[in-house]
């Protein structure tokens, strides 16, 4: 197992940094090119959601990302990843986004309880103060649910942990293409 950890301030500009980092690590792990777009978008959604929540509640607190290649080599003293995702984490690329903003209970009918794709419902949503969206913030979570192979969204006493994972192809790193983060 190989892990990349990234801590970002709650700034919108850093969401792109997180996307770029996640995409680079996912490519290195062996995620195929078509799935890379899903990883990029899902990570962006999770980080956007976390940044907005932090800006509203705790702008000074950082947001943490863990990018976990369960097929990659593990370092001798590297951090230990959480031991879940359906009890079997081998052969997967997992992204964990942890925020420290107060978690709200999922509303009935929210994407957490099954996403209703009737987008006409969104048109009546108000734009939050200082926000830029005309959509419910839960739409971002709905997008994550639509993109990731496995998702868990877990509120806890300090914030919310969004875990997303995708299966890795056998053989690990793709033989061609540019790798690396730089």
């Amino acid at each position: 197992m190989a892990i990349v950890q990234l801590t970002i301030s709650a700034l919108p500009a850093h969401v792109r940094t997180a996307r770029l980092m996640a995409t680079a690590v996912a490519r290195r792990a062996g995620i195929n090119e078509s799935t890379l777009d899903e990883v990029r978008l899902a990570v962006g959604e999770a980080c956007s959601r976390a940044v907005e929540a932090h800006r509203a509640h705790c702008p000074e607190q950082p947001i943490q990302l863990e990018l976990i290649d369960s097929a990659g080599p593990g370092g001798p003293s590297g951090p230990v990843a959480p031991d879940r995702i359906n009890g079997n984490r081998s052969g997967r690329f997992e992204v964990v986004v942890s925020d420290r903003a107060p978690a709200k209970e999922p509303d009935e009918g929210s994407p957490l309880n099954g996403f209703d794709s009737d987008a006409h419902a969104y048109i009546g949503e108000h734009t939050p103060p200082g926000g830029v969206t005309g959509l419910s913030p839960d739409v971002g979570l709905a997008v994550i649910l639509g993109l990731a192979d496995e998702v868990s969204i877990e509120p806890n006493e300090v914030g919310t942990v969004v875990r997303m994972s995708w299966p890795l192809h056998k053989g690990g790193v793709e033989p061609t293409g540019a790798h690396g983060i730089g």
Binding site: P12, A13, V15, R16, R19, D37, R40, L41, G44, E45, S48, V51, E52, S117, D118, A119, H120, Y122, I123, T127, V132, T133, G134, L135, V139, G140, A142, V143, G146, L147
Partner: protein
């Protein structure tokens, strides 16, 4: 890459050309442009997204916000997009039912005028 915005008038329609990434960082600029265009009396908008490289739900929110504003004036906001990676997020969110999505600016204008 960052977000590049341009706009021009064609056939009584304001065409907004978007290039780059629309996310939580850049979306406010697109929102400001759409609001400005509506405030100046442009109620029929076409957003050309052929050069958009990334779009997330924040960007969708801005487009929906723009749609709400033009609809308040009996206007329209249609999209030009043929990129599968961008269309996918419209499908996931069900917004293909809300926006007219066309393959060219000409097609978007002609479709509106034929209604």
């Amino acid at each position: 890459m960052d977000l590049k915005l341009d706009h021009y008038t064609e056939d009584d329609t304001e065409i907004v050309v978007v290039e780059g990434e629309i996310d939580v960082y850049t979306a406010p600029r697109l929102r400001e442009l759409l609001i400005d265009l509506v405030n100046k009396g442009n109620f029929h908008l076409v957003v050309n997204m052929e050069k958009v490289e990334f779009l997330d739900s924040t960007g969708l929110g801005v487009l929906v916000g723009g749609l709400k504003r033009v609809r308040a004036h009996d206007g329209t906001l249609d999209l030009v997009c043929t990129q599968e990676r961008i269309l996918k997020i419209f499908r996931i969110t069900g917004l293909t039912k809300v926006f007219g999505i066309y393959e060219s600016v000409r097609e978007a204008i002609d479709k509106r005028k034929s209604k």
